[in-house]
Subunit: 428 residues, 2 copies
């Protein structure tokens, strides 16, 4: 869900258009000066019979007609909730399309370095015959098979590497995220609290990138990976969660790991992989969801204000495209299905959606296991414009959308200050 | 398969980068002056064990590992060919995901105008509850239910409307294709030879476009339509072929149509819909394939030379993305499966692929039913560089790819001069 690179691209393109404008060269991006984007913000049928001529309109109508098959229902009984969780898990398994792979070598340790109070091991896994997936394991001094520790699988956001997230030196100076680096470190607060931290890359980023290390990193071409996965009938999220789950399955076999205290902490893009693993693997104890919570289908339906060239935004890139996802569920349904396992939200979202999650945990008998923090800008209820409102208005742009769902994008980062007391509460 | 708009975009972006370069502002698109794209053109494993670290590399390995389930085999017997055609049809039906829609009103005639020697009727169909699909029907004078005529369903290329393709005035001056318009007219040669021509739009174009008519037309945002279709588990081609097949099914019920002489003529993007309908509907008599023939999977595997920013090309946009397509077949397999129904190729392609089609028609007992013309630039066998060669080299760019598969892109247009004698031969 991280939109940093999208925002960068947008700014870049606007700069280009501005330069072109100055030079009087409009070329391909020509615009009609009489076109008023606001007038066309809401997509409506052009005809009185309610049918759309525009194919984009037809799709808008079809999107509005989706009733997700495994949507959470606040009126569920405890028994119905349990049955629904199993059904949702089955649907998730189906659309994630994990392959069955046999005869791959076991993961191998390929390096180790001692830091102050912990050591960092580098390992490699071989989830598919074509690939190698390196990951870092941060082990606090004193943790061993006789003293196993709670363990957190840390998944970076878009633009960050496992090294960024582990507070380790980058493998390539171009992989460095924007300063200050501390904003992107996930693992160290956990390690300092005595947990093992296992840190992975997202597919296509850092050590798993293609040529970006020579040129445009930390802007990675996730979409190139996503595109070919989609061609194969897979998806970026399906692949990413598959390689992360492969590492998680390894974690579950390590004697230094307290098997009853395995946690996933996902930042931004990493929250998607977190949700998939959380649904598929009931052995995971708890979750740190470091992003805002939203309904991505609704976002696609309401975020339709065109730019001055008549181009409506894509809410996000094809790395978030999972065929049939919206027909089954949306993010709030998925997180609700994690009940009653502890979950920490560090960047809020829309109250309506967070309330669904709260309700699920209430039905599951553990309402106290949901902890929610908003961005400071939206912490006071009176600053949340959609409080008590059930649906967002159509025809808005990205800026308005973010404001309505309580997102303070420039402040999107790792909220270590919220994680530490939560760790102390749940992982000791 | 039309790449005109891609080429336009590429030229535009290169122009922008050039301007930025002049202004000394490289911004987001910064490049490393020591990066040599040619050195990285071929995607290879970074390690001696043959595994890829780069996720893009993993995908490259997976793409190279695809063995399409319904690939044509030149050693088939006539019986095996027939069995394979049925299996391929079933697989096509499955990945095209046509919905079952009931209770929609019958198509309606909404207008009519007399031209010299024929009349043009405008009709509307209602294939889905959300949509209306207008189409044009060109009827030569003298054709009526007592004098039914061969009928050609004409499908435009990218950037053209049904009006362009029918030689009718555009509904919006912005919809006009580049001059001379005659290059894009599909229907009139058929009408002049006494055939009925039914002309449809591609989804998202012309009358089916969103806001492009105010701004950037004839550049249409096909990808916006494609994206949401993919989210729903459908695809641009699945949707486009569905609406075209709906019109085709109407054609099959019209008394003015000679039911034994229904032909599909597809230009560029329209050839994809042609292939789908051809496979799904054995009632179609013959095909005019107005584009070059290639293997799109191979194209994705070999066209990997990065630009100076380290970005490898997507061979085409997501409107061509059909999940699992490549796992089943590629274009030459599909066209081969149309045997023994007459097919005219107007823009050649790679001899290796065309020979597969020839072989299928030979097995089906009608080798004379394949007629192939190359672009004039590649008409002489000695000008076709890959003649007799079985696989294309990896690591090439678009320009080299087009040259190797015998494509003279600036000459990509409707080849009426080839269609007319073919019509006279097959449709009288």
């Amino acid at each position: 869900m991280n939109s940093k690179s999208q925002v960068m691209k947008k700014l870049f393109l606007e700069l280009l258009l501005c330069i072109l404008g100055c030079l009087g060269m409009k070329g391909y991006a020509q615009q009609n000066d009489t076109f008023n984007p606001k007038e066309h913000a809401v997509i409506k049928p052009e005809r009185s019979d309610g049918r759309y001529l525009s194919s984009r309109g037809v799709l808008h109508g079809m999107l509005k007609g989706i009733r997700p098959r495994y949507a959470f229902r606040p009126d569920m009984t405890t028994e119905e909730l349990k049955k629904w969780q199993v059904e949702l898990r089955e649907a998730m398994r189906e659309i994630m399309c994990f392959p069955v792979v046999a005869d791959q070598p076991a993961p191998k340790k390929i390096g180790e370095v001692q830091r102050e109070g912990y050591r960092v091991e580098k390992w490699e896994a071989y989830p598919l015959q074509e690939c190698v997936v390196p990951y870092l394991v941060l082990i606090p001094d004193g943790v061993d098979k006789d003293h196993p520790a709670p363990t957190v699988l840390c998944i970076p956001g878009s633009g960050e590497t496992k090294e960024t997230s582990a507070g380790e030196p980058e493998l390539n100076p171009k992989f460095a995220e924007e300063e200050p680096q501390e904003r992107w470190i996930i693992a160290l607060p956990y390690v300092k609290e005595g947990c093992v931290a296992v840190v992975v890359d997202n597919a296509g980023a850092g050590e798993l990138s293609d040529l970006e290390g020579y040129t445009i990193a930390p802007a990675y071409r996730y979409d190139a990976v996503a595109r070919y996965l989609l061609e194969l009938g897979w998806s970026y999220l399906g692949y990413n969660a598959f390689i992360h789950k492969y590492v998680l399955d390894w974690v579950k076999e390590q004697p230094i790991v307290n098997q009853k205290r395995i946690v996933i902490c996902g930042f931004s893009l990493g929250t998607e992989s977190l949700m998939v693993m959380g649904v598929l693997d009931p052995d995971i104890y708890a979750f740190v969801y470091n992003d805002f919570l939203c309904r991505t289908l609704e976002r696609a339906i309401v975020m339709t204000e065109p730019d001055k060239n008549g181009i409506r935004p894509f809410p996000n890139s094809i790395r978030h495209l999972i065929p049939r996802f919206w027909c089954n569920f949306d993010f709030p349904d998925i997180v609700a299905s994690l009940a009653p396992r502890p979950v920490l939200f560090t960047e809020g979202g829309l109250d309506r959606d967070l309330n669904l999650v709260r309700k699920a945990y209430e039905i599951a008998g553990r309402p106290e296991n949901v902890e929610i923090h908003f961005y400071p800008k939206y912490a006071a209820p009176q600053d949340r414009k959609m409080l008590g409102i059930d649906s967002l208005p159509e025809g808005i742009n990205r800026k308005t959308y973010f404001d309505l769902v309580n997102v303070d994008d420039p402040m999107h980062d790792i909220k270590a200050a919220l994680m530490i007391p939560w760790i102390q509460k749940y992982l000791k």
